[in-house]
């Protein structure tokens, strides 16, 4: 019996909302091992216990189940409308099951859209066509609002930061964003960064970097070096888990680059809380049909 795409996407939400990715959990374990202050130990112990409870009980890791954001990579001539509808049905089902919070608000009236599904608008779906793809692959990112509020975009040069249009300027922007976030975005965080692009592409590419595993390096040696350096320097700020002070302020920094206009040089930082919920699956479809 082949499960429908809706079934598979609902299952993806259930796993993603309740199971912290292994690499993120490992990073928290390492942070716990490095911690010395009572507050940092208390917070990290609670986060690790919470991760186990959520996984065992299939309940959300964090009550802010975030904006469910699906990144679909699709073969040519894929029916994207059907995928979007399946994502909407999956979000509605996941909400009824308590895997997603009633987390969608009509911006002007303030009314709660209890289903978390709005045709064509929610959940958020991004599509990328891959001419070589044989099947649909989908990554789900659930990033909470507290961390989304701490994302930043800088336009270089920035005189106040002493940041020019070079990698040292980029470094200054990223450190500034990590500092501004303090404990507001649920540190220890993960930073997805985009250098270049227009404003919209910058935010999207920065967010997409959050899908990268913590252990990988940018394929560009200069960016890989910058990722390591900024991570090290941010962790010397002493902000620590929840902004209570400590050794681990960030778990990772992931930097991408995009072409830009001559007039623009944006550095966009997507701040993700420690509960960086991401998971990727390949959809199984009967005879290639959706």
């Amino acid at each position: 019996m082949n499960r429908t795409v809706t079934d598979q996407l609902a299952e993806l939400i259930r796993i993603n909302t309740s199971c912290l990715p292994e690499d993120v959990e490992s990073a928290l374990v390492s942070a716990r091992a490095a911690a010395t202050s009572p507050a940092e130990l208390q917070v990290l112990d609670a986060l690790l216990e919470n991760a186990h409870l959520a996984r065992d009980g299939a309940t959300p890791v964090c009550q802010d189940t975030g904006t469910p954001t699906f990144f679909f990579t699709v073969p040519p001539r894929t029916d994207e409308v059907s995928l979007r509808k399946a994502a909407e049905a999956a979000a509605e089902r996941a909400t009824a099951n308590g895997w997603l919070r009633r987390n969608t608000i009509d911006t002007l009236t303030g009314a709660s859209i209890d289903s978390n599904a709005l045709p064509g608008e929610m959940p958020v779906c991004h599509f990328r066509a891959d001419p070589d793809a044989k099947a649909v692959t989908v990554s789900l990112l659930q990033k909470g609002g507290g961390s989304e509020n701490m994302s930043r975009q800088f336009s270089l040069p920035d005189g106040e930061l002493g940041a020019g249009r070079d990698l040292d300027g980029v470094r200054r922007c990223i450190l500034r964003a990590a500092w501004e976030a303090q404990g507001y975005g649920c540190a220890p965080g993960i930073l997805g960064v985009c250098v270049g692009g227009d404003r919209a592409e910058g935010y999207l590419a920065a967010k997409e970097q959050l899908l990268r595993p913590l252990g990988d390096d940018s394929p560009d040696p200069a960016l890989a070096e910058l990722e390591r350096r900024v991570l090290r320097e941010a962790n010397s700020l002493g902000i620590g888990p929840m902004g209570l002070g400590g050794k681990t302020t960030l778990l990772g920094v992931k930097i991408a680059v995009r072409p830009r206009l001559p007039a623009s040089y944006f550095v966009t930082v997507a701040y993700c809380c420690w509960a960086c919920r991401r998971h990727t699956v390949t959809l199984k479809t009967e005879g290639g049909a959706l």
Binding site: P38, A39, Q42, V43, A46, L47, E49, N50, L53, A54, G57, T59, P60, V61, C62, Q63, D64, T65, A96, N97, G98, R101, R102, N103, I105, G110, A111, S112, D114, G144, G146, N149, L161, G162, D166, L167, D168, R171, R172, L175, R176, W179, Q182, G183, Y184, G185, C186, E233, S236, L237, G238, I239, G240, M242, G243, L244, G245, C273, W274, A275
Partner: protein
């Protein structure tokens, strides 16, 4: 670990100091963005918060058997309520604020003046926090604000937190912010 239980008297609250680990029990009410805006616009608070605790929290709830199951709960970022909180403390007699990330100078001053503390719960530890909620005693504004922004009245037992801001001007977050600002400045002087 210091145990505090509703009703929270001024004496109990003034004996807490930034950095103390506490466990909160008894009645706790949630209120977040919509609630604070509603109060600021002149709305009447539907619950008696005198000597009470206000929890910045929007839970995951599922209706069950005529009541509600709290699936996940935890603190939301408190700084968004900074424009409103000092007035709320003065007007409603709130003694305990529970949230995450800390608040600003106006709230700190209201804590000092009226006898209130800000407790930092563990952000995102929603499965853990949900286990501390023993009973749903009531809910207000469910229709108008929705389940996430509604004011939930809960009985909690042993909710773990750290005193982030006390009634004597003590503020853990401000210390971290200042020290990290100095370090950031030093990093800015390092070579590219």
């Amino acid at each position: 670990m210091i145990e505090v239980r509703y009703p929270f008297t001024e004496t109990v609250v003034r004996n807490l100091h930034a950095g103390d680990a506490v466990r909160v029990s008894g009645r706790v009410c949630t209120g977040r963005d919509r609630f604070h805006k509603f109060l600021a616009d002149g709305g009447e608070c539907p619950v008696d918060l005198r000597d009470g605790a206000l929890f910045h929290c929007g839970p995951v709830v599922v209706p069950e058997g005529g009541s509600w199951r709290i699936v996940a709960a935890g603190p939301t970022t408190s700084i968004r309520e900074e424009p409103y909180e000092a007035d709320a403390i003065a007007r409603l007699g709130i003694r305990v604020i529970i949230g995450k990330g800390g608040m600003g100078a106006n709230t700190l001053e209201a804590c000092r003046r009226f006898g209130c503390v800000y407790l930092q719960a563990v952000g995102g530890a929603a499965a853990l926090t949900a286990r501390r909620i023993r009973r749903v005693a009531g809910v207000h504004f469910l229709e108008t604000f929705g389940a996430t922004e509604a004011c939930w009245e809960w009985e909690v037992e042993g909710l773990e937190a750290v005193v982030g801001m006390d009634a004597h001007g003590g503020d853990l977050f401000a210390k971290v912010r200042e020290a990290s600002a100095a370090r950031l400045e030093a990093l800015g002087k390092e070579d590219a």
